[in-house]
């Protein structure tokens, strides 16, 4: 076992001093009453329940609505730390957009031999229906979430890119709102960059990508949700509400006179931009999945004719495919001509025989992920797995090696959470939210910090018992 023995704690240095960005917070914290803070912690939960910030867990028969636990200790980043991340994320997201345009058009990256041709042609996330299609404004990933982990003072890694339908932004916003309500005094003492303009920025960004420009700033925007039983329904409603957009289901939409229109009390009204929170497969039964009862028949024809903006564009999923992930440094270099500013986690592609041999031999040190998986399902954390689990996973790897990638178990940084016994370090990651419009990339300072609440656990996914924290970026 080569599990690292020490972790970088973002609040405390190894010799138990308080790290610079946390100085202000810690001064406040140590003078506060522990009992009051624990009480506040409880209040936060009641608050979340009352406003209904819940999610539905897949695979739970009782369809119970659950809360994502919220921890009241913020995760804090210094201005210069953030500035660095911001540059790296911008570079990465721009490269992803160029890459998507390229593989659905001239495929120059394949011609140049920078990535294997089969990686695209054999990839189920590649969407041939998108070949030659020009998304309005040239934007593919209007909304992106880049998952980052930290292992040292200056060591950040991109763990994965989320460019299909990244979720969690409503938690970023509600977490801050909750903190502002519970600890107003903190925010008067410490200058934290606000996040509340996200919905307005999202609206503006979507409007800028509308077909034929933005119609004098007033295109009709709608959020497409699978409905109230979807795990992220709260977020869909929240964003529609905050943007002043309609929240529609596929049953509300149909094609009218060559446009996508929604059924209103006064007849059908054209939609210009659809922020869709349903998967490609359910978008259009005529194009993708004839079995689908969801979706809007014919919407892809309207899209190809350039008469509606779909955010994100269909077919973007190939860019967050985990098999492709390992080529991201090459992709960034190819399209930007620059060195990647953010590192990738070293990755073994199990489809390659040598890599597979290595992975099988070192399984108890590695994290293995399904190439097309997400949400922490179907993944193996080697150091935490039992012998039986390891053996079972080895069998899976041998049967379908191309289905997996493996990465070293990263020494994820820790940030304290509040427990009854006081502050206790827990592992975290970070998902900043990125908005891409035809002429700019905007990143809300901070993002969603997910935290593994179980001591020692490295899995931060909410579906696996993770919680969230408010994330602060300090003013320069």
């Amino acid at each position: 076992m080569s599990q690292p023995l020490s972790y970088f704690d973002e609040m405390r240095t190894a010799d138990d001093r308080v790290q610079e960005p946390y100085q202000g917070y810690y001064d406040w914290f140590k003078n506060d009453d522990m009992k009051r803070l624990l009480q506040k912690s409880k209040e936060a939960e009641a608050f979340f329940r009352r406003i209904g910030i819940t999610f539905n867990v897949y695979g739970q028969s009782d369809a119970e609505e659950r809360l994502i636990p919220f921890d009241i200790v913020p995760r804090i980043l210094a201005a210069q730390e953030w500035a660095r991340l911001e540059r790296g994320i911008t570079q990465r997201v721009c490269a992803i957009n160029s890459f998507l345009h390229d593989i659905y058009h001239r495929q120059e990256i394949l011609r140049a031999g920078r990535i294997p041709e089969t990686l695209i042609s054999q990839n189920s996330a590649f969407t041939p229906e998108m070949i030659g299609v020009n998304p309005p404004g040239g934007v593919y990933t209007h909304i992106a979430g880049v998952d980052l982990v930290r292992t040292g003072k200056d060591e950040f890694y991109v763990l994965e890119d989320n460019v299909r339908t990244p979720s969690g932004v409503s938690y970023m916003l509600e977490n801050r709102e909750t903190m502002l309500q519970m600890f107003p005094e903190l925010f008067s003492q410490i200058n934290v960059r606000p996040v509340s303009s996200y919905p307005q920025l999202l609206r503006r960004s979507l409007a800028a990508s509308a077909p034929n420009g933005d119609r004098g700033g007033k295109p009709v925007i709608a959020v497409l949700t699978p409905g109230i039983h979807n795990a992220a329904y709260f977020e869909h409603a929240f964003l529609a509400d905050q943007m002043g957009a309609q929240l529609v289901e596929a049953q509300d939409l149909r094609i009218e006179k060559g446009c996508v229109a929604m059924r209103t009390t006064q007849g059908f009204q054209t939609v210009d931009v659809l922020y869709r929170r349903i998967d490609d497969a359910y978008l259009d039964p005529l194009t993708f999945n004839p079995e689908s009862l969801l979706g809007v028949a014919g919407i892809m024809d309207v899209y190809r004719a350039g008469r509606i903006t779909l955010a994100n564009a269909p077919g973007t999923g190939i860019a967050d495919d985990k098999a492709l992930y390992s080529y991201m440094p090459d992709i960034i270099k190819f399209y930007t001509g620059e060195k990647p500013l953010l590192s990738n986690v070293p990755t073994w592609r199990c489809s390659e025989p040598e890599a597979l041999t290595y992975v099988l031999e070192h399984l108890n040190e590695l994290v293995v992920k399904e190439v097309h998986g997400s949400g922490g399902y179907g993944m193996l954390v080697g150091p935490a797995a039992s012998k039986k689990e390891l053996a079972a996973f080895k069998a899976k790897l041998r049967t379908r090696p191309e289905n997996y990638i493996a990465q070293p178990t990263l020494a994820l940084s820790t940030v304290p959470i509040l427990t009854r016994a006081g502050l206790a370090p827990r592992h975290v990651d970070l998902r900043p939210f990125v908005l891409v419009s035809p002429n700019r990339v905007e990143i809300t300072p901070g993002g969603l910090t997910r935290v593994a609440l179980k001591k020692g656990s490295l899995v931060v996914n909410s579906s696996q018992g993770g919680g969230t924290k408010d994330t602060w970026v300090l003013e320069a």
Partner: protein, 310 residues
């Protein structure tokens, strides 16, 4: 601009809330009667329109069976728990159309009632349970009045409330219509006050009635009070006038006149031209059946006019 589905969700959210409140009111009346004199549980179940389903599960009308069936039986689609859950689910669906106060009040209403109804309710706790229900639904209504813009959103909420309320008042009267009929046998005999009281209690109208009619009154006056009195917020005329008013406001904001408005206008006109003597003479039961069916047709026309479904 509003989605047809949103209009539908608002309409049904408020129908469900109104139904839950009415069921609570019926239970309150039944409980009060059981405490004092007569056992009214059977007619209470009948009035709630749950008779046939109730008899599938129970053979007797004991207070505990009736109370739990109407309050919290998950098999009973109209139990208070189910209607509140339905209202909350509608509210989730139309959340973007609601002020945050209305949404939170609805969500808290559901949470509070769910907790209250988690275990069987005994006759002893009934009053307190019903108070919670009444209080929680009132908060939703208060939030609606206090925080919602007077737009089409508000109109659809009100339409749901008053279509449901009209149906409810008409059914209560219909179940007990024979008591209200002027009959030779009543002449000169003392009228069954207890029976009247059931009717008035079911619509929370017992004090209002005494106040308006100085404690005296006869069956004719009670019928008039509940059918034609526009001061009484649960009377049929009040309900149909309010429905009409909201449809007129929709016409104004949509700049289009819909068939539902004509229908409501006609119903209202007929009511205003009616006298209680005429209604009783032509048959109260027939009148009420006719009204219930017209009211249902009106609801269906509203659905079509405003594209609730397609």
């Amino acid at each position: 601009m509003m989605l047809g589905r949103t209009a539908r969700g608002l309409f049904w959210m408020f129908r469900s809330l109104e139904r839950a409140e009415n069921t609570a009111r019926l239970l309150e009346a039944g409980w009060h009667m059981a405490l004092t004199r007569s056992n009214e549980w059977e007619s209470i179940v009948e009035t709630a329109g749950m008779g046939a389903d109730y008899r599938e599960k129970h053979t007797e009308y004991t207070s505990s069976d009736v109370i739990n069936y109407m309050l919290r039986d998950t098999d009973n689609p109209s139990s208070i728990m189910n209607t509140i859950a339905q209202a909350r689910s509608n509210a989730r669906e139309v959340r973007t159309a609601l002020s945050s106060e209305v949404w939170e009040a609805t969500n808290e209403c559901w949470m509070a009632i769910k907790e209250k109804l988690a275990r069987p309710v005994s006759a002893r706790n009934l009053h307190e349970t019903l108070s919670t229900i009444r209080y929680r639904t009132s908060v939703v209504r208060g939030a609606l009045h206090g925080t919602m813009l007077r737009t089409d959103i508000y109109n659809f909420c009100r339409l749901g409330t008053f279509i449901e309320r009209a149906d409810n008042t008409a059914r209560i009267l219909d179940v007990k219509y024979y008591i209200l009929l002027p009959s030779a046998s009543f002449v000169g005999s003392s009228i069954d006050n207890a029976q009247w009281e059931v009717i008035l209690r079911c619509v929370s109208g017992e004090r209002a009635f005494r106040w308006l009619f100085s404690g005296e009154g006869d069956s004719r006056e009670i019928s008039e009070f509940l059918i034609l009195d526009e001061r009484m917020p649960r009377s049929l005329l009040f309900c149909i006038s309010t429905v009409h008013k909201n449809l007129v406001q929709l016409e104004r904001s949509y700049e289009e006149r819909y068939p539902s408005q004509n229908r409501a206008a006609e119903m209202r006109k007929t009511f205003e031209a009616s006298s209680i003597e005429g209604i009783l003479q032509d048959g109260l039961h027939e009148f009420l059946r006719g009204f219930i069916s017209q009211n249902m047709q009106l609801a269906a026309t509203i659905e079509t006019d405003f594209r609730f479904y397609k």
